[in-house]
Assembly symmetry: C2
Homo-oligomer: 344 residues x 2
């Protein structure tokens, strides 16, 4: 569910631009001082053309968006930039983003800042999305929250008193690497991460891989019919078949909830937030489907059965509400924080 657009005459200045770099597309939005989106667009990442070209294309897209709104860069107080993979936030560098070899060690922040003539706030994409949910999404009533994104990988963002926990090496809030299974036969992450980490159980490919293992072991499932017809096994297919009552698909989703609940217990006892927000593309339909509601219930049950009583009943666990808009909204919000600090 994308966030609603607010009309220009109801928007509150100053304005901010959020840039959310993904492997395929760069999402760009113009956001007002209350976190409302005035306009949004996207430009292809075109990784092979290099990082500088992508930043120039982003700049052109921003100019176009602003023009549509009757605005110029003079109306923009700051820009925010979220990027995937490892980074050096103090230096503004992207380090080794997955599947983006030509971007390695590029000074992305300063490049965009120079092109736009604006200060640029810089964050990991999952931390930016968390900031978006914190600012105007599911965490908007919280002072502190944790977001866990379930998708191609498992990401995380921790916001404490309005500040993204970026960490000493710009590697904070990487919640996909929390260990949820320390046994010697724990699963390996499909992306080459460590053994038994949350990402090895709760990413979309990991969910599909666990279903494939059960099918290979001879279990029957309505998944088989679709695979035989040539479809690739995916977490979306599991969701669809679980909705139709398939027992195996449901079992894998329950086990995913269990491992996610284990990871949440560890995070909550470390940072004690007000809320845990589940984002990313793999939400099994969220509140709108029986499977999505069952998944959330099982995550909550696992958490409550294991957590210390002080936090058991006081931490909210819920789905995110900004969908794919969270990244650019949060990036804009991080740009806004940078601007506010510069005004002190």
């Amino acid at each position: 569910m994308p966030s609603e657009r607010i009309p220009r005459d109801q928007a509150v200045a100053p304005f901010f631009v959020g840039v959310d770099v993904g492997g395929t597309n760069i999402k760009i939005g113009v956001v007002d001082d209350n976190g409302g989106t005035l306009a949004q667009t996207a430009t292809p990442t075109d990784e092979e053309l290099g990082a500088e070209a992508a930043m120039q294309r982003s700049r052109d897209a921003i100019v176009g968006l602003l023009a549509e709104l009757g605005l110029t860069f003079d109306d923009v107080a700051a820009v925010g930039l979220g990027t995937p993979g490892s980074m050096d936030i103090p230096k503004g560098l992207i380090l080794e983003p997955p599947n983006m070899p030509s971007w390695r060690y590029f000074p992305l922040r300063d490049c965009l800042s120079e092109l736009c003539g604006k200060p640029v706030g810089f964050a990991n994409d999952a931390n930016a999305a968390a900031y978006g949910e914190y600012w105007v999404g599911s965490g908007r009533k919280c002072n502190s929250m944790v977001m866990i994104t379930l998708g191609t990988g498992v990401g995380g963002g921790i916001i404490l008193d309005g500040v993204s926990l970026d960490g000493a090496h710009s590697f904070g809030s990487e919640l996909g690497h929390i260990i949820v299974d320390s046994s010697l036969d724990a699963r390996l992450c499909v992306w080459g991460g460590g053994q038994g980490q949350l990402e090895a159980y709760a990413s979309a490919p990991a969910v599909a891989a666990r279903a494939a293992d059960l099918l290979a072991a001879g279990r029957t499932s309505s998944l088989t019919r679709r695979i035989v017809q040539g479809e690739g096994l995916s977490s979306l297919m599991l969701f669809e078949e679980a909705e139709q009552g398939d027992e195996l698909a449901r079992e894998v989703i329950v086990e995913t909830a269990r491992m996610l609940g284990v990871g949440i217990v560890s995070v909550v006892h470390a940072v004690d937030p007000e809320a845990i927000i589940l984002g990313g593309a793999m939400n099994f339909g969220g509140h709108d489907t029986a499977t999505g509601r069952m998944f959330l219930d099982r995550v909550r049950e696992e958490f409550q059965s294991r957590a210390y009583h002080v936090v058991r009943d006081s931490v909210t666990i819920d789905y995110a509400m900004l969908g794919g808009d969270a990244g650019y909204i949060g990036a804009a919000g991080i740009g806004r924080t940078l601007h506010q600090h510069s005004q002190l």
Copy 2:
């Protein structure tokens, strides 16, 4: 190793008092603006006499300590107070401290503040100890660090940019509750905590319980001789026999290091600190013994084998250096922070 005392004429004003409440004793120290200890004492907790009496006794002990130094409360800028168990930091309440039933829901902070006529900073005892190591101990060169205390229980403290991570419900940094084993036969904490949590493997009683299980299963060990002679099995006995080459004792200590390494991986990927500091009474002799060095090496190895490469080589793991002084020094430091903020 207790921290050194600094002479009165080398101490830097203003002075701070740290009060570290334990189940048996209350440690009290007078600390200067650089975190140096001028004098230290202790008074019995005498839980059964109630919290107010303990605070009055603490106040009397502080007056005595100050008098020894030729000081009065006029020379003290603020007091800090660390207490065990659950608490409500904003309200200054101690909630349900273990083994201290008569103290429940007592307004400890305001009671001490009124008795001393000073502002009182309030913190969980493990967070206070972490702050002490951050201020003048093993973490003194860090902006962010995590301390894990191994003792009767497993506690934790997370310091980010000089601020103790107390959490939304005053339950932050409770690292003993991180899950390190999610299997169905994972161990239960001897204190009634959840299954598979770090405390169920790395507290002193948990270490003794694992050794007892191996002995009950028929394993031979030099521990048996001592138990037959009437000694109670303890983590200290395991340490001593490991030093003498006992294979079973060594095996339990190695497994403790493995589980601690697993927990550290989860914490590091959540908060990305500069250092992990191991404190508490159960350090197997620390750097001074073969067993202590072996334990630390195994913790580091487990961490490095599982952590993402960005943090694998940049996070320091080491023992604490302030021993039992960390708590009151850190409490004094938290009082100092309160004082500094009041001066802004």
